[in-house]
Symmetry: C2
């Protein structure tokens, strides 16, 4: 590249873009690790975007109607950190830049949501950012429809690399965005033709523009180092009534000895080469030293949006107090006052009518009363609406001509759905829940993990949660998926036993501010086990005594979900044999673990033999069976130790021994 030509053609632009490149080189060199090439290649695009288009105010980073900027290619984190620092985000100090990738800094290797203002989502696992962005854009459309254009009217911009576009989830994302003609979503593809292993063509020869067009996108191709062309492309993209992909031909590690090579993708730490690159840029100051005039120019960009923000605040003040309060409430992830009373009334009704109901159907019933009091919910399913029971009568369907609809047909895109839901929650103002079969947790996993890592309350509705699924067979029967979600930090896994516990689980999921929820729900009908109405949300304690032993307590049966009624049946049989038996319902292990020791000991006292019952693998159970004053000689487990099979559900429970008779036999063997 002829850097001199670039520099002389747009000197002001050049110095600003170079500040990003120089900070990147310095921070990566100081950390002795990181990814230099991407920020250096995309500095021009990012500079034009921030200078000319992005609606933001560095002094008010949480302004709800800001444009969202998502760095899907998260390894290029120094691009984002440089932009935030240069434009004057107060927490992104030079000290933080100098502590790139160090313990306790907010400048992690990949951008971590919650670490610093301006980081809209955690990226790094490739494809997640672009998939989140579809949720951001949907949230914007939905909130705009609900609150009006005066309050919500912004764009979502994304930078994605070849890695993002090769990941399958990007296909789910772009086809979903294309289907919904999300015109305010604009993706820049960093078309540098380099991946870690070498040129992109080693592994991929996809015609990306054609691919995006096939998904219903507008496509614009530009030289990613020509600021005028980039500016024109963004201007054009903003006018589209469909999402736009701007293919930016760039040079990775522009101007460095490693330019256009896979070496340039990684950490450029050779001081001579870095010095030579800076010299070629015409950058003469020392490490981390941005000349005052350049810093000022960037800070002017950072405050460019202040007037627009003030106007927005005026507009916001002009809408009704009720609307303001609702908007502030949903943006703060606060629940409406009515929620608690609604749940209590529903629970009472369920206890009184004691229906035999699959928990997925109970979930639908609960959502029928909850969705009307929660204007912020958006529900959906990955093409299993009638099976996941996620659609309620008042939601309406989100569509091109009905942006106020609150139900999304996500299609057969479990991963894209989960990532889009995360995007909605991250945008703010939305509580997203979506369903698939629990077995397909596997497909949604990367996004489910990120919800936990980001501390956001996305809700994953996982129905058909065991061999109770029946004839579809082992490909559709989860056995390890409860363990998988429970192994994940900061994830509440609810496996309710009946309609009452299901409603309690929903109350907790919808009240959560920092923890995602997994609802594990049955296909098959279950009796109501909560015989007595309690105002208190017992599921919030994670586990509780559902049925007390009569006489001397010799056995404690601990069960979840569909196996709670098996435990109750076994208890009846044991009591008839004169063996005192307590049944503990344990709808959420994580919440039980969070109780104080006194409560845990009350629920699980020492002495009695313990049997865990769950139609899944034992992993995760030993803490309750052997730990917490339990004992290996006096504990057993009734569950699965292999994949299931294709047969009617009742046959499977019998064949795999998940029956009251087997529980009784095991209890007697232990005594």
């Amino acid at each position: 590249m002829d850097l001199t030509a670039l520099r002389t053609a747009h000197p002001d632009h050049w110095s600003k873009a170079t500040a990003i490149r120089a900070l990147t080189l310095d921070a990566v060199a100081a950390a002795n690790s990181g990814h230099s090439g991407m920020p250096m290649g995309m500095a021009d695009v990012a500079t034009v975007l921030f200078e000319k288009h992005l609606k933001f105010d560095a002094s008010a980073p949480n302004w709800p109607d800001r444009d969202r900027f998502i760095l899907s290619a998260g390894h290029g984190s120094m691009l984002l950190y440089s932009l935030l620092h240069l434009t004057g985000y107060s927490d992104m100090t030079l000290e933080q830049i100098k502590n790139f990738r160090q313990w306790g800094s907010i400048t992690a290797g990949h951008p971590e949501y919650g670490h610093a203002a301006g980081i809209e989502t955690t990226t790094g696992p490739l494809g997640q950012g672009i998939a989140n962005s579809v949720g951001f854009a949907m949230a914007e459309e939905s909130l705009r429809a609900h609150y009006g254009k005066k309050i919500v009217d912004h764009y979502t911009y994304v930078i994605a690399g070849d890695g993002c576009l090769m990941e399958g989830v990007s296909q789910e994302a772009i086809t979903l965005a294309g289907r919904h003609r999300l015109g305010k979503l604009i993706v820049f593809w960093d078309n540098n033709n380099i991946t870690i292993d070498g040129p992109v063509t080693l592994a991929d020869t996809t015609d990306q523009p054609q691919r995006f067009k096939s998904a219903g996108w507008a496509v614009i191709e530009v030289d990613g180092h020509d600021p005028d062309a980039i500016d024109a492309a963004i201007t054009k993209a903003k006018k589209q009534n469909k999402p736009t992909m701007i293919a930016c031909k760039t040079h990775i590690a522009l101007g460095h000895a490693a330019q256009d090579t896979s070496k340039g993708h990684g950490a450029l730490t050779n001081s001579d080469q870095n010095a030579a690159a800076k010299a070629a840029y015409g950058w003469t100051t020392g490490p981390f030293d941005v000349p005052n005039e350049v810093k000022s120019a960037w800070e002017a960009i950072g405050s460019r949006g202040a007037a627009a923000r003030a106007e927005w605040e005026e507009r916001f003040a002009s809408v009704s107090g009720r609307k303001q309060a609702e908007f502030n409430r949903v943006m703060a992830r606060e629940v409406p006052k009515k929620l608690s009373a609604t749940v209590k009334a529903f629970k009472k009704q369920m206890t009184e009518s004691a229906p035999k109901l699959a928990t997925r159907a109970a979930s639908e019933k609960a959502l029928e009363v909850l969705n009307p009091v929660l204007s912020e919910t958006i529900g959906g399913s990955a093409d299993l609406t009638g099976s996941n029971n996620t659609k309620t009568s008042d939601l309406g369907v989100f569509d091109v001509d009905n942006r106020s609809g609150r139900y999304v047909y996500f299609g057969i895109r479990e991963h894209g759905m989960a990532a889009a839901m995360n995007g909605m929650v991250l945008h703010g103002g939305i509580r997203a829940y979506g369903g698939t079969f629990m077995c397909f947790t596997d497909y949604a996993r990367p996004a489910m993990r990120l919800a936990a890592l980001m501390k956001i309350p996305t809700t994953f509705v996982m129905t058909h949660d065991s061999i109770g699924l029946g004839e579809d067979g082992p490909t559709h029967q989860p056995v390890e998926h409860l363990a998988i979600s429970r192994a994940t930090p900061n994830t509440n896994v609810f496996r309710p036993a009946d309609a009452v516990e299901t409603a309690e689980a929903w109350e907790l999921a919808f009240s959560s501010t920092e923890t995602p929820s997994v609802l594990s729900l049955t296909r098959q009908g279950l009796p109501t086990v909560r015989a007595e109405h309690k105002l208190k949300n017992l599921t919030a304690q994670g586990a509780y005594v559902l049925a007390e032993a009569e006489g001397k307590r010799q056995v404690i049966l601990i069960a979840t979900g569909s196996e709670v009624s098996v435990a109750l049946e076994a208890r009846d049989m044991l009591q008839e044999s004169g063996i005192g038996c307590r049944v503990v319902s344990m709808p959420c292990m994580e919440l039980f673990a969070a109780q104080d020791e006194a409560y845990r000991r009350k629920v699980l006292p020492a002495g009695a033999v313990r049997i865990g019952i769950e139609a899944a693998v034992r992993q995760g159970w030993d803490q309750w069976l052997l730990g917490e004053r339990g004992n290996a000689k006096k504990a057993d487990f009734v569950g699965m130790d292999d994949f299931g099979a294709s047969a009617p559900a009742n046959v499977l429970f019998e064949k795999y021994g998940i029956t009251a008779a087997n529980v009784v036999e095991k209890a007697k063997a232990l005594l």
Copy 2:
């Protein structure tokens, strides 16, 4: 649809295709569950394929050079079962068809590999079959290059539905296939415009032909009920030097009241409607009754390939005995005699030289000596070749002009890679291994589970297996992924402690016939802990005493991988304080659990306090700490209970307390 016109235009074809439709209606009605519409819609395409093109011999279903037929849309299992029954596969009896979806039958809800001949892979989780097929086609190319066209020369055919094509993994699959110009891969898209939730357009408006073209595929569009057009399309597709997608416009549940509706996707069990459909077909026999002349016509198709097979056998007999033996060996998943000696020599060398080496680097060293003795290996990485250390010097790169290359640049496609590896193994003749960062187990999970369910020995190389990854931060640091793979039935998770255990793990992975392996390998350097050379593969026992206590055994430290050297260091400190301490290395929990009780008791005797050490969550450890004669009061765990952070690895181990000092402190607290 005008069924009469179809029927009169091609009466012979019609009766054969109708046999599929009638068996489907009968089997689904008998099971009272299943998916009727897809087999009814694709019966014409399948009939033409089997009658005119598919190279197979029902009497020799495992003929190695048969064409492969993969039903990616696995819910339409009755299509496959009907074809296998009608063409005369001996195990697919009418009795089995009548027992569709019942306990003990081979006719599961979705096709299960291993249940019946002719089921080439397990499908049902959408997108897997098409992603497997890329591996099948790669295996064919690779084996053809190695053994010659006389022995290997066949096509891979796939039927995929809208569900398969909406799943992101299909994009990874088709772009990988397009990149490698897999001309012998032919995919039929069942373009019926229906999903479970309704018309496809509810959720998707992708221009599929354009999408496939963007991935480098040939595309042919046909009426999926016109046998001549289908025949011509297949003929044309077979001549392409790139993969072909044949878009078949079909009517789901053709001729039934539910035709062209989402109801038609599911179980059509209304007897009046089913009778009406059969009447419209001109099908007059009773349930499960295929007229003799139709059955004979199908059986003629089933034996059509017998002559070609005989010719193949002659050709096979004409090649050198050495080549025959090698071919038979690799198809039987047998290891060469040299493997064991090679591993032993390597172990000896490692013990003697005692290098400090990351296990990912040790893995590369092991592969350097193993790949040359295993002609059947194909290795790869999802764009992390230099990090996963999966490429060895002798492999060569698989490419369009070098089909004998045995290393695949899979690109940033963890899921597609895992599914393609499964396809290679399923094809036969190949042992596939491929790498990514362990955290991205999440992306590959759906295919990893299927490897376990199918009982095939795919090997997943997961490097950067803990916070030891360092600066890249929590998005890249696995903490729950060991638990996730261990929770999965039939999966061996190896976490070797040094180069010796790494070689032992590879020997076990490469010798496995029915169990996939996960190799969990470090980024960071580790000392050699196996001080004494043993001929025996100690990893095969899952756990073993690495260092015995001196004096009275008061403490047992159990550790895996990078934490084994931490345990040894802690042992030295404890012994110095006069506390006798045994160190158990536990590279594979599953293999240890499979040992007899006597051995397990020998390794983990009662009495001493136990501490588990692993830089990951505790879930899965309690069976060894509290069970197996352990005791909650005398056990502890040193590991992770939250996500990691971005910082240098040594800082992280210190901050999270995964240190010898902390182990010693915990041990003393327990004593």
